[in-house]
Symmetry: C2
Subunit: 141 residues, 2 copies
DNA sequence: ATAGTAGGTATAGATTAGAGACCTAACGCC
DNA sequence: GGCGTTAGGTCTCTAATCTATACCTACTAT
C-alpha cells in the first residue's frame, strides 16, 4: 500500500520531468473516457459475456436510452467493446468486450474489490462529516 | 484476464440474486464519487505526500479553484483525504491521504499501469473509427 | 503604495445529462 | 383491420453541472 503510493509518486514525478502536458497524459485520457457514471458499469456488465442493447438497459434500470447508446458508442470508438449487428428484421445488436476491453478487467476487479471492502468505511466517514456539519450549524457557525 | 471476467461476472450475478438495488450497490456509490474528471487525479497527486491547496492547483493547471475546492471537500467527506489547517496568518491548508485513501492506491496503480500500457491501442482504435466514419461520410451514408 | 501569496467564495455563461416522446418494421392477438 | 409489443435507437426540452472570471481578507515583500 505504501509501496503503491511510492510507485504512483514516482510516476507523477516522471511525467512532470518529461514536461508532459498534464492535460494530455494517458491516465487523464483514460479517466476522461471511462471516468463517468456509466462506462465502467457497462464494462462490468459485459464481463460475463455479450449482451444486447435492451438486456443492458434492463440490467442498469436507471440509465436512459440516450446515455446507454452514447456510452456504448464511446466505448466502441475506444476499442473496448465490439458492436455486431445481425441483419435480421428487426436487427439484433450485440455488444461484447474486445480483447482490449478484457485486458481492463483485472485492474477493474481490483477497484471493485476495494469498493466492496471499504464501502462501510466511506459511509461511516460521510456520517461523521454530516454530524460535524450539523453540530456546527447548531452552534451557529 | 479471463479469470477476472469470470469473477466480475460472478459478482454481478450475486448482486442480482441478492435483489440489490443497482443504484445502491457499493461499486456504483464509489464510481459516482471518484468517477469524475478530478478525484482520481488529485488522489494520485497526493500519493507521493501531503500537498497544499495552491500546490495542487499548480500541479493540475487546468482545474478551476472552484472544482479543486469542491472535489477536495468531497474526498474529505468520504474519508479519503485529511484537511489540516495551521492557524497561522494567513492559514496554511494541507491535504493528505488518510489510511483509507492510501488503501485505494494499489487498485489505482493497477488502473494507471493499464492506462500507460494500452494508451496506444486506444488511440489506434479511435483513429480506425474516425477513418471509418470519414469513409462512410464520403460515400454519403 | 503596489503587487503578490494563500485559500478560498460568488456569480454568470456554457456544457452536459436526463426524461420522455417519437420512429421504423415486424409479429401476435382478437 | 386495429391494437399492443419488441427491438434499437433518435429528437427535443429541461434540469443539473462545470468553467471562467471577478472578488475577498489579511499579511509580506519591494
Amino acid at each position: 500500500m505504501d509501496q503503491a503510493c511510492t510507485l504512483i509518486g514516482a510516476k507523477v514525478a516522471e511525467w512532470r520531468e518529461m514536461g508532459l502536458d498534464p492535460a494530455r497524459c494517458p491516465v487523464r485520457d483514460l479517466l476522461d473516457r471511462i471516468g463517468d457514471r456509466w462506462s465502467i458499469l457497462l464494462l462490468t456488465m459485459l464481463a460475463a459475456g455479450p449482451m444486447r442493447f435492451n438486456a443492458l438497459a434492463r440490467a442498469v434500470p436507471d440509465i436512459s436510452k440516450r446515455m446507454l447508446s452514447q456510452t456504448l458508442r464511446t466505448l466502441e470508438t475506444d476499442g473496448l467493446i465490439d458492436r455486431t449487428v445481425e441483419p435480421t428484421v428487426p436487427p439484433r445488436v450485440t455488444y461484447s468486450l474486445t480483447p482490449l476491453g478484457k485486458s481492463l478487467m483485472p485492474p477493474l476487479l481490483g477497484l471493485i474489490t476495494w469498493a466492496e471492502q471499504n464501502h462501510a468505511s466511506v459511509q461511516a466517514a460521510r456520517q461523521r462529516m454530516a454530524a460535524m456539519v450539523a453540530a456546527a450549524d447548531a452552534v451557529g457557525w
